[in-house]
């Protein structure tokens, strides 16, 4: 997420509960918050709903915001929590949309069936592991950013990614797929 320089005064007005300041921050950050959530949930309509949910949580928590800190990092943390809550509330099988984009350079050695089985198995992973693996491996976000957004250490992110890969491999092997 690129850092936008916000006037301290705007952040202070927001923390005091001014709706005008909230609107200004909303308009400045809605695109970035949406993109971050989209990376996690991978569905544009859901990402839009969760962007509104995120800003609703931001609005509700305005008094606890420290205007000396980064608004972007705070917003991304809240967005990650909103996305995690969404993934937890959904049945794991339906958590990933069907019309997912294809890999830019498909490997001819990997069949369509194998890809579909992988997507299904990935959708069955626990949400915490899935978010870490999605952001780190598929979206290729820096580990430090993921750690900040999830409120955990970089080491914990790496551990979740590792566990996600192991669990995914085990699930696929159970289906007769040997990666």
């Amino acid at each position: 997420m690129p850092t936008l320089a916000q006037p301290r005064e705007l952040l202070q007005r927001f923390s005091l509960g001014e709706v005008d300041a909230f609107e200004e921050l909303f308009r400045l950050h809605q695109g970035e918050v949406y993109r971050w959530i989209l990376r996690i949930v991978r569905d544009p309509a859901t990402a839009e709903d969760l962007t509104v949910e995120t800003f609703w949580r931001i609005h509700r928590g305005h008094a606890s915001f420290d205007s000396a800190r980064s608004f972007e990092a705070w917003a991304r943390r809240i967005a990650s929590n909103a996305a995690l809550d969404y993934l937890r509330s959904k049945p794991r099988e339906t958590a990933l949309p069907d019309d997912l984009p294809q890999a830019p350079q498909p490997d001819p050695g990997i069949s369509q069936e194998m890809r579909q089985k992988t997507v299904r198995a990935f959708g069955r992973l626990p949400p915490k592991l899935r978010i870490a693996a999605t952001l780190a491996l598929i979206e290729e976000q820096p580990y430090k950013e993921i750690a900040e957004a999830l409120g955990i250490s970089t080491g914990a992110v790496k551990l979740r990614v590792f566990r996600a890969l192991r669990l995914l491999r085990k699930n696929l092997q159970r289906q007769g797929v040997e990666p």
Binding site: F26, G31, P101, I110
Partner: protein, 75 residues
Amino acid sequence: MTTPDERMEHLLKQSLSPTSTPTGATLQRDLWPAMLDRLGETSAALPWFDWALLAAVVVWLAIFPRAIPVLLYHL
């Protein structure tokens, strides 16, 4: 020679591509109107302590019905 984890990672990347493609990651509309609706919904809803206060008044009036005219006088 690749490790099983590396092969798994490759298979995952082949199965799910990043959303950060030029068309996929852009917000298509302004969400501020939806945000305003959300803010309106919640401001119209009574917070829990208002309901608790209302319930306390109803109980109080049920126990002391003679207080009803006094309450009406003060409204």
